[in-house]
Structure formats: structure tokens, C-alpha cells
């Protein structure tokens, strides 16, 4: 499943997780990494934050609040996804129903993993980020092709996305397939390597 399904728009209310530096251990604790599947991790997303000791929902956790039910967009504090390279983090979020994460800063490896799986990782300016953090529950419409977030009042936030990631999201491009097509160039490169050795 290295090609994800095409994603052109995300239309949803937001849930706000204002904490900075939400790390991959918070998103999916390491004890759930013994799975050998990509699916089924949603029930453990944010496990130690989301549930109380008795296993019931933590009412304080933003995504457990009634208003956040059915939200597909998380607005998160700065430096979301820092820590490990575990792709289980975006897998868990997607399986939990999240299709976009917005922050002012998103960790490199997490962001790359997210975009490869059709989880839209959006970086916005600090001022726009602050505004989004202060307005939980608003309805956003993220347009991948246009690189824009439409606000309820008709305003718009622009975001950067490199062309290739945009193309892959919109078309569900299979990146492994793309690499396999480079076989001639790779073979030529390897030949040069061996001659140099």
C-alpha cells in the first residue's frame, strides 16, 4: 500500500492539541510497535493521553470532547511529530480518522512519512497558527491543489507544499513505482560506483 488514495480536499471542524513538541511516543507509544501490520493502530492513537487509568475516555483530552467527534483536522502546537521515525505515527492517526495536521512546525521525518501515506501535514505561519489554536472547532476546507485553507468567514490561509508531494497527494501516486522507473539511471550509477572502487 505505498500508494495512498487521492486526497484533494479536507473539509472538517478542527480539534486543537495546543501542546508543543507532541512527540511520536505520545502519538503511538512504543509498546504498540510490535505489530507487523499497517492497520489497526487507531484505537491506540494518543493512548496514554486519551484514556484514563481505568480504560475510560479522558474527558480532558481534546479529541474526546463531544465537539471534536468526527473531526479530521488536528491543529497542533509547534514541532508536532518530533522524535522517532516510526511510520506507525501517521498510520495510527489515519486509522483514527485524522487526515490533516496543521502546525507552525512539523518534524521532518514525521512530515515525510505522513505525506507518503496521504496524511496532509500543513505548516502555516506563526501568526496564523496562533489564530487557529485560539479558535478550536471551526470549520476548515483545505484545498491541496490550491495550497489554501478556507476559513469560515471566507478568509484564506496559504501554505507551501512541494510540487511532488502535492502531485502525489492529488493523484495517489505510487512513489515506489516512480522509483522503479528510474532503474536505468540507478543501474548506470551502480556501474560507475563499481568502476571507481
Amino acid at each position: 500500500m505505498s500508494s495512498s488514495r487521492p486526497l484533494a480536499y479536507v473539509h472538517s471542524r478542527t480539534a486543537v492539541l495546543a501542546n508543543e513538541n507532541i512527540d511520536t511516543d505520545r502519538i503511538i507509544p512504543a509498546r504498540f510497535l510490535t505489530t507487523t501490520e499497517r492497520t489497526g493502530l487507531g484505537k491506540h492513537a494518543f493512548e496514554d493521553w486519551r484514556y484514563l487509568a481505568d480504560g475510560s475516555d479522558n474527558p480532558e483530552f481534546a479529541l474526546n470532547k463531544p465537539a471534536a467527534r468526527g473531526c479530521h483536522i488536528i491543529v497542533a502546537g509547534r514541532n508536532f511529530g518530533c522524535g522517532s521515525s516510526r511510520e506507525h505515527a501517521p498510520w495510527a492517526l489515519l486509522d483514527y480518522g485524522i487526515t490533516a495536521v496543521i502546525s507552525s512546525e512539523i518534524a521532518d521525518i514525521f512530515r515525510g512519512n505522513a505525506l507518503k501515506n496521504g496524511l496532509l501535514a500543513v505548516v502555516v505561519s506563526a501568526a496564523e497558527h496562533r489564530w487557529l489554536l485560539e479558535h478550536p472547532g471551526i470549520e476548515l476546507r483545505i484545498d491541496v491543489a490550491a495550497g489554501s485553507i478556507r476559513l469560515p468567514d471566507g478568509g484564506e490561509i496559504r501554505f507551501e507544499l512541494d510540487e511532488f508531494s502535492r502531485h502525489c497527494l492529488l493523484n495517489g501516486v505510487d512513489q515506489l513505482g516512480f522509483l522503479l522507473q528510474q532503474d536505468n539511471a540507478i543501474t548506470a550509477f551502480e556501474k560507475n560506483l563499481e568502476q571507481a572502487a
Binding site: 513538541n21 511516543d25 505520545r26 505489530t35 507487523t36 502546537g77 521515525s85 515525510g112 522509483l179 540507478i186
Partner: protein, 471 residues
């Protein structure tokens, strides 16, 4: 040609197809390290597409994350924490057999944590590109290799094509000058650096560590520094190779031999940033001012000198971190009650780390209320430590001497702390719950860890080193 940085040279040498505005570049990968946690779905992908591993000779697997650190029983059964952990290891064993990949498995004298074992067998060479489905792959940058962590989808890409789609990161030079003081280790240096630049300070960048202090570090110390580059947000850390690098590598089983060695070294000597090369960012650190350091909060950028006080929280979120850690602004970290001490991980489980910890524990006892785990980074480290009698020092002091693995750094294998326990740990992450749900982690050097184990509270190792000097 204009002056190039080490990153420029490594990047240029591995570009199969250059990046354009529309597409990332195709980057060739010289060495792919594999472990049981982040590879099963990638092998499944290959299987479902009928693909093979393109370069088995450039792929090396080991078992480390889910593996128990207690020995097998008389029937050879290993005490896995869960059936899932056992089946994950079995799955890697089956995958390497099916796809023909070398495995440093249970029967190998070279098995160990991927970032300890890889360099040890001489698989890591200067000038290489190295990846692994593990963010601490940055460790290998200590050899002047461009080494970074990747996700499982990319593990599949490399298995199938030996390449990755990448855009070139920016460069950040960290210039370190001045002599490290007694009792101050490479761990204190990197904790200090992360404290200075912050855990997002290296995002989007590759760090090159430079300067006289870095040049004077041993290979093991350089690995400790590069290892935690990701804790500053940088995917990779680099140190230009030099005679320290070459003499450490020479003679290891996967290092070049004979004429090939000489030719390789001649090439490796060119792998330094050119005079006048420009970095996107520069940071200057005075090593002589650094003291033993520990973390006081819930991320690796919350660092304080061990003799200093917990800083005041800047906002409500920082206050939450202090509350989680049960520490108080304005109060010292020394004297905090310790429950568990962990010496191990790809950051600090090499022979020199164990020597450092044993130096303080020799002739002393771990405090009665403290549980101390010492987990060597590899089978080779274990053998060498035992040959030097270090295990006897640990056992006599009341510590547990375990088999190699990631153990309590990631707490996947059952080696974990209980809720609320405070762990002084030589590992790399102090996130909430990292070492067990509700566990509180204080990152520290092996010297601080050993001193704290003896004192039963967070302790300054210089007090113990002073006693030795006086004795």
C-alpha cells in the same frame, strides 16, 4: 568549483538523478540497516509486488528493539515480553531468509543495537549514505557518512531500488572549541547543544559538528554526539573523518582490506568541508564552560547543568512538564530521589561508557532502593566488558547485567519503569511515558547515572571522581 561543505560532497556523490522544482532527487544509498520493528510491512510490500531486494550486499539486519535482555532458559526459550514481540522477531528471521539478507541474529557473535553493531563490524564507512528505519541512524554520521532515519515506506523503497526520493536539506555548522572539563562527557556536550539550539533547532538541516573539541573526541564519543542530532530536530549529524576514524575502522571485518583500504583512506581524506565553505547557519559553543548536565523536563531540550537549579517555566505547558516530572523551579536537580538507573542504548552502551560507569561503581554499592540495569550495546561490547571484569563490578555493586538490546530506552521488551518512577537514563529521549507509562526520565551521562545509582538521588559525578583522585 566553489567551496563545498561535507554535506555538499556527500550529496553530490550520491545523486542518481538531480532534484528539480517538480520532483525530488534520486539519492543512492550505500548501506541499509534493518531491524524487526520498522521492516515487516516493507517486506510485505515487496512480496505483494513480486519484487526482490536489489542489493543484498548493501543490506544488513539485526535484532534489537523487541528482544528480551534476560537469557534464554535451559530449553533455549527466550523470555519475550509478549507473543507479538516474539512473532515480530520471527517475522524478520523469516524475511531475511526469504529475501537473502544478512542477519546479525541470535546466533551471531555480532548481534547488537543496530547503531552499535553496524559500526563495530566495520559496515559503516566514511563517505557512505546510510539509512535505517530508526531515527538514531544519525549515529553513523560520526564517521563522515550521511546517515538518517526513514519510515517504513522508505525502507521498502530502499530494499527494492537502493534509492530514496529526497530533497537536499540545509546545513548547520556547530563549531565547538575549548577543552571539556573533568567529569564532562560527550553526552553532556550534546545535551548542552540541544539545550542551546532547542529540539526544533536543527529541523530541515544536517548538522556538521566541527572544531578542536570535536577533533579531540574518540569515535565512541563522536557517535554519542551524532546519535542525538535528531533530538535537536536534525535528521543527520556529521563529523569529518580523520586519523581517529581510520584507526578505529581499520581491520574490522567489513572494512576494506589491503590496497582497497589505502585507496579508500586516500578518498576519505578529501571528505571535509572546504576552506571558506558556507553553511546556512552557524552556532558556536564554548566547551570549557559545559558542566555535567541533565534534563529536568519532558523533552531533550530541557537541559540544566547538574549543579544548577530547575528553571522557571516559561508558560503553562512548560509548567505541566515540571509537574509531570515533579520538580520545582528554583530547586536543584541534585538530591532528587531516584528509583531506577539505566545504563544502555545506542547513545551510551559502548565499552567506554561501561568503563565510565564501572569506574564510579567499583568498590561501591547501588543504593538499596535503586534498581540499576546495565545493558551492553552489543554482544561484542558484552564480551569485552566481561573480559575486563566490568560485569563483576556491576554485579558486586548490586546492578543487573543484561544481554544486549535497546531495552529500557524504548521499553518495548518489558524492561520498563513503573508509573511515577524516576529513571536516570543514559538513553536519548525523556518524553512522557517513553520508559513506561507515567515513568519520569532524566537523561544523563554514564558518570551521572552511576553516581546517582550510588547516592540514591541525582548526584554530581565530580564528587566521586574527586574522592578517587584524593584516594
Amino acid at each position: 568549483m566553489s567551496a563545498r561543505t561535507l554535506l555538499d560532497k556527500l550529496w553530490d556523490a550520491h545523486q542518481v538523478v538531480a532534484e528539480t522544482a517538480a520532483t525530488p532527487g534520486v539519492l543512492y544509498i550505500d548501506l541499509h540497516l534493518v531491524h524487526e520493528v520498522t521492516s515487516p510491512q516493507a517486506f510485505d510490500e515487496l512480496r505483494s509486488r513480486g519484487l526482490t531486494v536489489r542489493r543484498r550486499d548493501r543490506t544488513l539486519a539485526t535484532l534489537d528493539h523487541s528482544t528480551p535482555t534476560l537469557p534464554a532458559d535451559a530449553d533455549g526459550r527466550r523470555p519475550y515480553y509478549t507473543p507479538e514481540a516474539e512473532s515480530q522477531v520471527a517475522k524478520l528471521e523469516a524475511n531475511v531468509a526469504e529475501f537473502g539478507v544478512d542477519l546479525l541474529g541470535w546466533d551471531s557473535p555480532d548481534r547488537g543495537i543496530v547503531h552499535v553493531a553496524g559500526p563495530e563490524v566495520g559496515a559503516t564507512h566514511p563517505g557512505m549514505t546510510i539509512v535505517c528505519g530508526d531515527s538514531h541512524t544519525a549515529t553513523h554520521g560520526a564517521f563522515g557518512a550521511l546517515a538518517f532515519g526513514i519510515g517504513t515506506t522508505e525502507v521498502g523503497h530502499v530494499l527494492a531500488t537502493q534509492c530514496l526520493l529526497q530533497r537536499k536539506p540545509r546545513s548547520l555548522a556547530i563549531h565547538v572549541e575549548g577543552q571539556l572539563q573533568r567529569g564532562v562527557t560527550a553526552k553532556d556536550l550534546i545535551l548542552h547543544i540541544i539545550g542551546q539550539i532547542g529540539i526544533g533547532g536543527g529541523t530541515g538541516h544536517v548538522i556538521e559538528y566541527r572544531g578542536s573539541t570535536i577533533r579531540s573526541l574518540s569515535m565512541e564519543e563522536r557517535m554519542t554526539v551524532c546519535n542525538m542530532s535528531i533530538e535537536a530536530g536534525a535528521r543527520a549529524g556529521l563529523i569529518a573523518p580523520d586519523d581517529t576514524t581510520f584507526s578505529w575502522l581499520e581491520g574490522r571485518q567489513r572494512a576494506p582490506k589491503g590496497a582497497a583500504w589505502d585507496k579508500a583512506v586516500a578518498h576519505w581524506r578529501t571528505l571535509a568541508s572546504d576552506e571558506g565553505a558556507k553553511y546556512d547557519q552557524d552556532v558556536h559553543i564554548d566547551a570549557s564552560t559545559i558542566t555535567p548536565s541533565v534534563t529536568y523536563g519532558t523533552h531533550p531540550g530541557m537541559v540544566v547543568p547538574i549543579a544548577g537549579n530547575v528553571p522557571k517555566a516559561a508558560d503553562a505547558l512548560e509548567q505541566k512538564a515540571l509537574d509531570y516530572m515533579r520538580v520545582t523551579a528554583g530547586k536543584p536537580m541534585t538530591g532528587e530521589h531516584v528509583d531506577v538507573v539505566f545504563v544502555g542504548s545506542c547513545t551510551n552502551a559502548r565499552l567506554s561508557d561501561l568503563h565510565a560507569a564501572a569506574g564510579i561503581l567499583r568498590g561501591r554499592k547501588v543504593a538499596d532502593h535503586v534498581r540499576m540495569l546495565v545493558v551492553p550495546g552489543s554482544e561484542k561490547v558484552r564480551r569485552e566488558a566481561e573480559a575486563a571484569g566490568l560485569h563483576e563490578v556491576f554485579l558486586a555493586a548490586g546492578a543487573e547485567w543484561r544481554e544486549p538490546g535497546c531495552s529500557m530506552c524504548i521499553a518495548m521488551n518489558g524492561d520498563l519503569a513503573r508509573p511515577g518512577q524516576l529513571v536516570v537514563s543514559t538513553s536519548n529521549r525523556n518524553f512522557e511515558g517513553r520508559q513506561g507509562k507515567g515513568a519520569r526520565t532524566v537523561l544523563a551521562s554514564p558518570l551521572v547515572a552511576a553516581a546517582s545509582a550510588v547516592a540514591g538521588v541525582i548526584a554530581d559525578p565530580r564528587d566521586y571522581l574527586d574522592q578517587e583522585a584524593a584516594a
